[in-house]
Symmetry: C2
């Protein structure tokens, strides 16, 4: 059974020497960073080689996800948080992700307006991303873009998701700390959003705390948290903010830093990053198995004739998959 | 190199004899169909065995996807279409899919209200699905639910998606014919939604045609269609409707039937279903490779120690994936 020798492996595995683009990014060149993120969005082995060169320089910054249903004032909150963090002398980056943007394109405009507010400040980097043209899947592309900004020394890197669906949950998994912003008007709807959201929230924010229903939402979230029987190492705090007036934002920033401390001292940071890396490696393996083995196999005459049988209902898709698998995988030994 | 013999394969591949549940579904038992769809949502090999028994009875009905940004009046349109199709004596099913429903839960309520309208009509079946609890991914789960209703003789099966993101595009791919409903208030926004939507639309609908901006939207879509240089076999018609008053709905139904005829006579139906099956088989293969090979492999001491190296930035995830792949796949030969 021929197995790739270490020499073969090293040949395939060795990244190129640090390219000019990577050197520029590491030196803090913002245009180069923007171009690199665009190449990540376009995907392919080209971006892969650059990401491999970047990887040793990553893992330093705190990645904070900010997510939740529309109407919670997330953008205002992120803007205020950005100003506050900036005032403390830290370099901060924001990635605004809108999985719906092939339809809406809305995030891009808001992004430009935001950029203008901070145009002269080299300690701030803002970038929006949409599902369009992200070949590797939006969650993975977001994670790679985070690495670019992390390697440049931005800390924290804020990842703001615009929507509320499954994709956003996956994007939230790219963060070390996840802040869930609940709109004050949600009322009894807090019950409805329980699924999915309770599992990912490290910190809850009820923004627009000056609105009449806000205190009801706070107590609803508290009730939900109490209903959880399990003893957690970290109980998500509920922070009330009025971001338009800057109120509560310092409290939120303190909670984020507390959570970072918790992550580090408890070992949870390592566990989260380990799980994330595992998923990423799985993803890379699958990309290769699919591209190098399955896709060529699916073009073979044998497979096409099997597909005819499936179309004609003489065979079912599960049997076809079963018949395709061992031969395909045997193909790896070539 | 040991390869599974035909005997082994047959043993693994042979579906169980038709179970009571499948017999009930094929006999038109609606409760059994509901239970089967729930089992599909829960996933696993249990649902697989049932789906294999069902498969020979599928592929008859016309699957019509109805998608587009919020505010277009999709639900009203689907309701009116349903009444019209029903009046022509056909049995019609609706699957309403909301990938955001772990957050919103909204579709379910609307679904119950709709069900009540048609509660006594055995020629109508309505079911909503959300991302929650769909282990196989929402697009695939939707495709499998379509098969249940198709096997029962519902034709057409309408698949309505509530949201507008990447997930909805994938769900739309489960349809033979895709109707894209554009809100009249979108105005210049039609340009913005071009990406993604132009590729999947077989028929455009501008609903709420009585609203002032509707004719602008119609001409915007027409302009976009003209800009496409390629000579298409099928040019997507633009249908104006006022679903609340039932206007234009017969025209839409005629266009849907025309597209079905086109699909059949041009061979495009076969090509679309072939592509869909290919993706499905790929998906099944991946599920097995991941579950049977990669996941156990990822628990090995070797892999955990490699993961330590990646976490410590002594190795990058691409190299880890490369080192994991051949051994893992060699594991298939056990």
């Amino acid at each position: 059974m021929p197995v790739a020798s270490d020499a073969d492996r090293d040949d395939a595995a060795r990244p190129e020497p640090e390219s000019e683009m990577i050197r520029a990014v590491l030196a803090g060149n913002r245009r180069a960073a923007g171009r690199l993120i665009s190449r990540i969005e376009n995907g392919g082995r080209d971006a892969e080689s650059l990401l491999r060169q970047l990887y040793p320089h990553t893992g330093k910054g705190h990645v904070v996800g900010i997510t939740g249903p529309p109407g919670g004032g997330k953008s205002t909150l992120v803007d205020e948080l950005l100003l506050l963090v900036r005032a403390s002398g830290k370099n901060v980056a924001v990635i605004a992700v809108d999985p719906n943007s092939p339809f809406s394109g809305g995030a891009i405009l808001g992004d430009r307006i935001r950029m203008m507010r901070h145009a002269v400040d080299r300690g701030v980097f803002i970038r929006s991303m949409g599902a369009r043209g992200t070949l590797g899947g939006l969650a993975r592309t977001t994670g790679d873009a985070v690495r670019v900004l992390d390697a440049m020394g931005f800390d924290p890197v804020l990842v703001e998701t615009v929507g509320v669906g499954q994709s956003e949950l996956e994007i939230a998994e790219q963060a070390d700390t996840t802040v869930v912003v609940i709109p004050p008007g949600l009322g009894d709807g807090v019950q409805a959003i329980k699924a999915g959201i309770m599992e990912i929230a490290d910190i809850f924010v009820v923004n627009k705390a000056d609105q009449p229903q806000a205190s009801k939402v706070v107590s609803d979230i508290r009730d939900l948290l109490h209903m959880e029987e399990s003893v957690r190492e970290w109980t998500p705090p509920i922070v009330s903010t009025a971001a338009l007036r800057g109120e509560g934002v310092p409290d939120l920033w303190m909670r984020i830093q507390q959570h970072r401390d918790f992550l580090e001292t408890s070992g949870e940071l390592r566990r989260r990053r380990e799980r994330r890396l595992e998923r990423e490696i799985m993803d890379i393996v699958w990309g290769r198995v699919r591209q190098d083995l399955l896709e060529p196999r699916f073009e073979s005459a044998d497979f096409r004739s099997m597909l005819d049988d499936v179309l004609a209902r003489r065979m079912d898709p599960y049997e076809a998959a079963e018949r395709a698998t061992p031969e395909t995988v045997a193909g790896l030994q070539r």
